[in-house]
């Protein structure tokens, strides 16, 4: 089968680069490009007899001698049929379980105000994989990388397994007695109690808390989300008079202006889906949107921008208000009461915005009108948020939805609470799934304040910094063991347990229900009963709780009215924006991609997923702009001292192209003191947070100095480098419109091998680089599906990470503001695979369905295949990464995929277990396989639908049609290996003089 790619065009190779060394072409980088493997793999010394390289004094001859002896021993030992093991059937088999068949349950995962309706794949009662709920009208079967990885937290061996009182393990009966006694004492004395929890997104939890307050009138409740951005909360209260949940509706967008907003980072599957739909062009004449990004750090959204302009966060407010002023001049009406007189007309000072670009931006917004939307990053200062609210109100934007939300306590409220505790105002403190001992900026003050509270209880899963300060520890269920419900746009969502409790734990809500009862209030037996009763009271006719539970949701029409913008709030914000000038260096603190606010820090899957921009794993170095690094003489990996006010951190630095001059960025959620994975990874950045909620995440007057010394970074961006070949292609919309087939295709080489025959199927994949945002959801989905091991920071630093799919991030152009393209790279399943013909034992060969298959039990670990792979996607098990693990960690493994031992090679299998399963099911039902029936884990995980898998033999399949797209190319097609993966060139839509505009 031969798929002709579009015609050959002129050969022009855009100069893409991934690391600074590559771009500057240092001799070290050139050497590194030649060395396939990093130190530790390459022999370090020469044999003194033959002058041949040996490693660590252990020669190849010794090795074979030992292997021979071991094989002989193994052969005699293996000849034994004793102990074939046992089969233990169910004593009473649950009707829904057939051993070997996966069951799917609808549930939901909450992270801050974000709610992710999910489907949980369970095998024999164990949840093993999480994907989005396809019934939900918003997320449509997609979810976030952190939601997918959270299944690992269920099996975290660090979880607290029974209640504990001052270090002593005790039963629930006694623990609850202690708990109730403390609450009762406080109630009787009329003293205040403080309950701190995460965001309340559940109506039932809200009702429960209201009941608790009735039973315990002196209760004070704070809901905190330390990484969600206090400034956004403050700004919403100022602009709308109430807390608001802001959801982009990108499907309706023509022009998007992001003020440091990172809505494409994977956290918001709905936004990604809409983005993908807008970007997957069939031809140059389809409607396209345009994304403008003004930001200080380089965010994932910034890398996907059509036009990106580096602007320091402290100036964002001024820039946005100046834009509003320009739009007023162009005839857009200001909301009543709004006053922009504090803002000077024209481009604000202190920004290097070119006049031409500025006028293009104004014109774009004006033309797009209701189809324009302005989104502001949660960490940006409050005035920038208020400016965004004003702009959206002026434009009457349809592409953003505002929902009233439950209030969140800011750092100021927490500080007041700490003061209250220090003054002895509280008789009891209950911490529920929060860790203020770690997240509160003044940890010592917090510790001293907490010590003044007579009774301190902690409800949570893994004992953390806060647990260390509490007397009574109550172990909580994981969400996969719990009941809950949530309100989302378009549906009310149910969370249901998918496994019984693994340990002697209870749901936090159940603990509080018990407290209500003990305090003399009325409460049902369990939170499940409480929630079910509430649902059954409000269910519309023709629906049932059971059906809602099956679907995981009940579709609803949104009743909430969007809050009105208050023009009177503008004047004060403009004054703050006008006065906000950069002072020295400016530090932006944002939630870690892997760790968020630290709650995921104990999740090794996430710790090892490379950060989409810096490609860092297992660390949070401070990112420095290219200009500042030059000025301060900082190089990659240099240890630096970072000081804000009187707090100083010592940490490594990385240089970040594209970051605005004078801006530093640092991820929160690292530097934890507890947890076997989290402990000691990176540094804790929370002490650098400000106590003014309006600008808590943006600190000015930061000092940065070299501390001397260097740290080896566990960074994957220089691994598997591709020596400057034309691997990634990016077109502007203009180029694409002018030359629909304008990018070149190399001549196909003559092959010495006969063409492979594919009698029935030929599996193939298409990856649309225009839709891929680089969010790395595919990496996590693959890790979960294929039992991909975690290797740890030292191994990653040696280039031994095991991910079957990686996202290569390429820069192009100027260092100060490069264009960025993300390219998912996985086994290309070449028809003429170079790995296959070098394998001495035929462990890797071709299937009649086009799969480059890997038989682990045949592999002897020569690594020839990895050396010969032009795409560098083969992964070798240098050490025993998984086999030594015991329960509960092993329970997360997918039983359909082999757990690979040390010494074998592995790589992407196109999820052959899923292909085989669908094939067998279709055969059993005497039908052919439907297009789209087989999904690989990466495809199912990709929220922007950039990845499409299917049968290339079927001309009607989606994948066959996409292969014929005029943007199609194959990576390294000139070497004639005939990969089964086709890429579609990236598209950008910058505003060009005389060019086509968006919308």
């Amino acid at each position: 089968m031969k798929t002709r790619l579009p015609d050959h065009g002129p050969l022009e190779t855009p100069r893409f680069w991934r690391t600074l060394e590559e771009r500057i072409e240092t001799p070290e980088a050139q050497q590194a490009a030649h060395d396939e493997f990093l130190p530790g793999v390459v022999p370090t010394q020469d044999d003194d007899v033959h002058g041949l390289p040996v490693q660590d004094g252990f020669s190849r001859r010794d090795f074979f001698g030992l292997v021979g002896a071991a094989a002989a021993l193994a052969a005699t030992v293996a000849c034994d049929r004793k102990g074939q093991g046992t089969i233990v059937p169910y004593t009473k088999r649950p009707v829904e379980i057939v051993p070997g068949v996966a069951n799917f349950y609808a549930s939901a995962f909450q992270e801050g105000r974000h709610v992710y309706p999910v489907l949980v794949k369970t095998r024999e009662g164990r949840p093993i994989h999480i994907m989005g709920n396809d019934e939900h009208p918003g997320v449509k079967g997609k979810t976030s990388p952190r939601a997918m990885a959270d299944v690992l937290r269920l099996y975290d061996p660090d979880r607290l397994r029974a209640p504990r009182l001052e270090g002593r393990t005790l039963g629930w009966m006694e623990a609850e007695t202690q708990f109730h006694k403390a609450l009762q004492t406080a109630k009787n004395a009329g003293k205040s109690l403080l309950l701190i929890s995460g965001a309340v997104a559940s109506p039932s939890r809200k009702a429960l808390l209201a009941n608790l307050r009735t039973a315990l009138p002196t209760l004070e409740h704070l809901a905190i989300e330390p990484a969600s951005g206090d400034a956004a909360e403050e700004a919403a209260k100022a602009s709308f008079g109430q807390p608001v949940d802001i959801q982009p509706r990108l499907a309706k967008s023509g022009v998007i202006l992001s003020l440091g907003a990172d809505f494409l980072n994977g956290e918001n599957p709905e936004a990604l889906a809409a983005w993908g739909t807008k970007r997957r062009l069939k031809n140059a004449h389809e409607a396209f949107n345009r994304l403008w990004v003004l930001e200080g750090p380089l965010t994932l959204t910034g890398t996907n921008a059509d036009q990106r302009l580096p602007v320091a966060p402290s100036r964002l407010g001024a820039v946005a208000f100046a834009l509003a002023k320009e739009l007023v001049a162009k005839g857009l009406p200001l909301p009543p009461g709004a006053d922009l007189s504090a803002i000077a007309a024209g481009i604000p000072q202190g920004t290097d915005l070119p006049a031409k670009v500025w006028s293009n931006l104004v014109q774009d917004l004006r033309q797009a009108g209701r189809k324009a939307v302005v989104l502001c990053g949660a960490q940006m200062p409050a005035e920038a948020h208020q400016a965004a609210h004003l702009l959206n109100a002026m434009l009457g934007s349809e592409a953003v939805a505002m929902q009233p939300a439950e209030p969140l306590a800011t750092v100021k409220d927490l500080e007041a609470a700490a003061r209250g505790m220090a003054e002895g105002r509280y008789a009891a403190l209950v911490l529920w799934d929060v860790n203020p001992a770690y997240t509160f900026p003044r940890a010592t003050a917090w510790k001293d304040a907490v010590a003044k509270v007579p009774f301190r209880a902690w409800i949570g899963q893994v004992p953390d910094e806060a647990a260390a300060q509490c007397q009574l520890l109550l172990p909580e269920n994981h969400w996969l063991e719990s009941w809950d419900d949530f309100t989302t746009a378009g549906a009310d969502v149910l969370q249901q347990p998918t496994i019984g409790t693994l340990y002697d734990t209870r749901q936090g809500e159940d603990v509080l229900l018990g407290a209500i009862k003990a305090l003399g209030g009325q409460a049902p037996a369990s939170y499940h009963a409480f929630l079910k009763e509430r649902w059954q009271q409000s269910l519309p006719t023709g629906t049932s709780f059971e059906q809602a539970l099956h679907d995981g949701l009940l579709k609803t029409e949104s009743k909430a009215t969007a809050p009105a913008f208050m023009g009177s709030s503008v004047a004060a914000a403009t004054r703050r924006a006008a006065e906000s000038n950069p002072e020295g260096l400016e530090l932006v603190l944002f939630p870690g991609f892997a760790t968020h606010d630290g709650r995921h820090a104990n999740n090794s899957w996430l710790q090892e997923t490379p950060d989409p921009i810096t490609k860092m794993t297992w660390d949070n170095p401070v990112s420095v702009s290219v200009q500042d690094a030059q000025a301060l003489g900082i190089q990659e990996g240099d240890l630096v001292r970072l000081s804000v006010d009187d707090t100083t951190l010592s940490l490594p630095a990385v240089i970040q192209p594209g970051q605005a001059k004078g801006v530093l960025t640092l991820a929160l959620g690292y530097g934890r003191n507890t947890g076997s994975v989290a402990k000691g990874v990176g540094v804790n950045a929370f002490p650098l947070m400000g106590l003014d909620p309006a600008s808590a995440n943006v600190r000015k007057g930061v000092r940065l100095a070299k501390a001397g010394g260097k740290k080896e970074l566990s960074r994957t961006q220089s691994h598997h480098r591709m020596e400057g070949r034309d691997l990634v292609r990016s077109l502007t919309l203009e180029e694409y419109a002018d030359h629909p087939q304008g990018h070149h295709h190399g001549p196909e080489l003559v092959s010495l091998y006969e063409d492979q025959a594919f009698p029935e199927h030929k599996w193939g994949m298409v990856i649309d680089l225009a839709a891929c945002t680089g969010c790395s959801a595919c990496v996590v989905a693959c890790q979960s599906e294929n039992n991909v091991p975690v290797v740890g920071p030292e191994q990653v630093a040696r280039g031994r990470e095991m991910h079957w799919i990686r996202i290569d991030r390429y820069y192009e152009g100027e260092l100060e503001n490069p264009k960025v393209v993300h390219q998912p790279m996985l086994c290309q399943h070449c028809d003429n695979a170079p790995c296959e013909n070098v394998c001495p034992v035929n462990a890797t060969n071709h299937s009649p369905e086009g799969l480059n298959q890997m038989a682990y039990n045949r592999c002897v670990g020569t690594r020839y295949c990895a050396n010969n792979c032009p795409y560098k996607v083969r992964r070798f098990n240098f050490l025993e990464y998984t086999a030594y693990k015991t329960e509960p960690e092993t329970l997360v493994n997918n039983p359909e995929v082999t757990v690979r031992p040390r010494g074998v090679m592995e790589k992407c299998s196109f999820c052959v277990q899923r292909i085989n399963d669908v094939k067998i099911r279709a055969k059993g039902e005497s039908r052919s396989i439907l297009d789209g029936e087989i999904t690989t884990a990466c495809m199912a995980g990709c929220a922007s639908d950039a990845i499409v898998f299917g049968d290339l033999k079927d001309p009607k399949s989606k994948v066959s049609q996409l292969v014929a797209n005029s943007r199609a190319y194959r990576v390294l097609e000139e070497i004639g290996v005939k990969p089964a993966i086709t890429y579609l060139a990236d598209l950008k839509n910058p505003a060009v003089e005389g060019g086509r505009h968006a919308i």
Binding site: C79, D80, R81, Q84, G85, T86, I87, V88, P89, Y90, T91, K92, R93, V98, P99, G100, V101, N845, S847, P848, E849, L851, Q853, M854, A855, Y856, N857, R858, E896, V897, T898, V899, S909, V912, Q913, N916, I920, R921, K923, G924
Partner: protein, 187 residues
């Protein structure tokens, strides 16, 4: 003594014996299914396939109900046995033991007779669904008082049938070959 006497009398016979011993021991060690055949471990309940599948003519799938839906045929759960044995043969010690287990809910570990290495993912469904009878691989189970292994699960046994399956397939089947590529079973 002739100078070759020593060689003819001692060295050559000893060498011949050594060579023969080597050949026969290697041959014996490497014979197909050497340890596979005849394996019949003692089970916690002396269940007789001869009685249930032979005399009573119960269908295999009555108990091994996962076979057409799942990769695994499955061992029946204890409550399935109790469907009949609540009233049948309740005087037998084995049935009394079974009843005890069913009531207490404790696990019943059966000894595995047919086993596969970890890196093999055999799937019962495509085999059973095209009409291959259980006996093709598991032997004449309906005649076994104690379940005994008749055939080893070597790859050679799999491939023998996959290359020429007509003997195992029902008459009239159009299938001429089974999958022979690695990823069909190894992944």
């Amino acid at each position: 003594m002739h100078r070759f006497d020593r060689a003819f009398r001692f060295v050559l016979p000893a060498a011949a014996v050594a060579i023969l011993a080597t050949i026969s021991s290697v041959g014996w060690f490497t014979q197909p299914d050497r340890f596979a055949k005849g394996y019949a471990p003692e089970q916690p309940i002396p269940f007789s396939h001869e009685l249930h599948a032979g005399t009573l003519r119960m269908k295999c799938q009555y108990c091994h109900s996962g076979v057409d839906r799942s990769r695994h045929a499955g061992i029946p759960s204890v409550d399935l046995c109790m469907g009949c044995h609540k009233v049948t043969r309740t005087d037998r010690p084995a049935i009394q033991k079974l009843t005890r287990i069913a009531n207490s809910g404790e696990p019943l570990p059966w000894q595995r007779v047919h086993t596969l290495p970890d890196h093999v993912f055999f799937d019962h469904r495509p085999h059973v669904n095209v009409g291959i009878v259980c006996q093709s691989c598991h032997g004449e189970v309906q005649t076994m008082k104690v379940l005994t292994r008749e055939m080893g699960t070597r790859m050679g046994n799999c491939l023998g049938c996959h290359r020429d399956p007509h003997a195992s397939l029902p008459p009239g089947s159009k299938i001429t070959k089974g999958a022979e590529y690695c990823a069909a079973c190894h992944r």
